[in-house]
């Protein structure tokens, strides 16, 4: 401060303030862009809600519990239950399938792999996240669906279909191969790299001295994992899983290809069904502008937004310590 004062002393008092207008303009440009992003989210929520309002008015709370989907004019009746259940079940099953594999990959990349192998394998797994969802859809339809149809469904159905309580989940009269299970399988592969990358990043943040102490006591890698790494990173790991869940809930094209798009109540995991995102993709472009059907689809979109917003917000909250680091 005194240095600046010394430099200023001989100058006349008419000295132009540094920055001035340019600084104010640039700061407001940046702040304006930030506010624009806030408004954008608000506008998305508001638009979906207002668009869905006619359907909410028409059907009331029954919209959430109704399984109807009847676009016939005069007898129009729409309900959200089937696509909502399809969305939630396929996403949760995808998480159940993806988490163990993602954990294996993350553990391999942080502890087991020799250093020269870590980067190429890590990059390959990350590239899995870069493949567009429509490619997963095509690959799922032409490669995975026949495999599920010919091998997985029959094997699982015959081996476990007779079990009490869960047997009915595996026994289906549909043998097309397009089903909730296939959709979950594709979703699991798609969210695998996101969960694996998050887990790897948080595993790497465990202070080496903790792990070395456990190794020094004679622990095996599995014991270090269970006793040191997992307790230390538990919160962030759950955050990463929630991030994957958020992605799986809103995934559209890949699911549309392989879920069968049948708007009726599934009784088995191998029955075709639909999700919110895929029913919107299938039916919205060809429905009449301003129709009750469009409004119902917008209402479904609003519900999907609320669900994924909650999941993503929880994920971010759990991952906040990692984000700060």
């Amino acid at each position: 401060m005194s240095h600046a004062a010394m430099l200023e002393a001989p100058a006349p008092p008419t000295r132009r303030p540094v920055g001035g207008a340019g600084d104010r303009v640039f700061e407001w440009l940046c702040r304006g862009a930030g506010i624009l992003v806030l408004l954008l989210l608000g506008a998305i929520i508001l638009t979906l809600f207002l668009g869905g309002l006619p359907a909410f008015r028409e059907f009331g709370a029954g919209f959430l519990t109704s399984t109807a989907w009847n676009p016939v004019e005069g007898r129009e009746n729409y309900g959200a239950l089937v696509p909502m259940l399809g969305t939630v079940i396929s996403a949760i099953l995808a998480i159940l399938l993806a988490v163990p594999v993602a954990f294996g990959i993350a553990f391999f990349l942080t502890e087991l792999a020799p250093p020269w192998l870590r980067r190429p394998v890590g990059t390959a797994i990350e590239l899995l996240a870069a493949i567009p969802s429509i490619i997963y859809g095509m690959w799922g339809l032409f490669v995975l669906v026949p495999i599920v149809q010919q091998y997985i469904q029959m094997t699982l159905g015959e081996a476990l279909g007779g079990l009490p309580l869960i047997g009915f989940l595996l026994a289906s009269n549909s043998f097309t191969g397009t089903s909730i299970f296939t959709a979950s399988l594709v979703l699991a592969i798609m969210i695998l790299p996101f969960i694996a990358a998050t887990m790897r990043d948080v595993f790497e943040q465990v202070p080496p001295v903790y792990k070395e102490s456990a190794y020094g006591l004679g622990s095996t890698r599995w014991e270090v994992m269970r006793g040191v790494v997992l307790p230390y990173t538990r919160v962030s790991v759950v955050g990463g899983i929630m991030l994957g869940l958020g992605r799986a809930l809103g995934e559209t094209m890949a699911v549309t290809f392989v879920i069968g798009n049948a708007n009726r109540m599934p009784t088995s995991l191998f029955d075709p069904s639909t999700t919110i995102a895929s029913i919107v993709a299938m039916e919205f472009p060809e429905s009449l502008m301003g129709s009750l059907k469009q409004s119902s689809l917008l209402a479904l979109g609003f519900l999907l937004f609320v669900i994924s917003f909650i999941v993503l917000a929880i994920s971010r909250f759990l991952l906040r310590s990692r984000l700060k680091a």
Binding site: G19, V101, G104, L112, A124, P132, G137, T252, M253, V280
Partner: protein, 301 residues
Amino acid sequence: MSTTTLPALSPVKDMATARALGRRRKRADALLRWFCLAATALGLIFLASILATLLWRGLGALDWAVFTREFEPTTYGDPDAPRGGLAHAIVGSLIQTALGTLIGTPIGLLVGTYLAEYARGTALGNAVRFVSDVLLSAPSILIGLFVYQSVVLPMGGFSGWAGALALAIIVIPVVVRTTEDMLTLIPNTLREAVVGLGAPRWKMITLVAYRAALPGIVTGVLLAIARITGETAPLLLTSFGNSVLSTDLGRSMASLPIAIYQQANSGFPDLIAIAWAGALIITFGVLAINVVARLVLRARL
């Protein structure tokens, strides 16, 4: 918990149980190793299977006609009937992707600058960061619904502009994340040196901070381009697709993902083959952009 976690610490009665315990621990450890190895192999097999399927089915259908011809209905196996291509979709995709990037990048850049340079630790900054991160993972089809309601309905029909806008909304959070991350990595001493020389803050940011963070920002933009190149769902509700080559942004416009989606579901083998060719183009385009983005980041940091 501690006894199961660290059996080595539990009291050992005699040598036999100690050896049995050691064997059990080693076996559990070996099991975990094989499991992790299998999991990683599984992930790599998925990648290999996708790429192999694309090459196998896409290369067979990939010829010059794919790049030069517009959509044609199925030939029903008639060798004399004109074979279609994807020229309309490639042109449409290039236009919409370029526009989306041009609209989204400056906004994302400014937001990232705001978060890193002006709003560290402020309430508004945290809110913007949170919202941007939510938008980053929000279902893209909902962005399509939003643009449909706010642009397509008022304009009275699907349009290339609506498609470009939807893509721009997807670009913004990607660019915000990388810009903020990269600007945060710049040491404060650099900023202080520039401001100490008497430069106003906006010059410090635009002339020095941006230059120092350039590789990271370029990476962010490339990743955003890669992301929107494959986006299908939002375009379905905004630019809808078109079977002829059109550069009119006021009308519905074709795009590669939509063309793939429609032809893959057509049920005709010759159209499905063209869809595979399109899938091959789009995937290797996206993967190439990703690899370049990584190289840019690694080369300069």
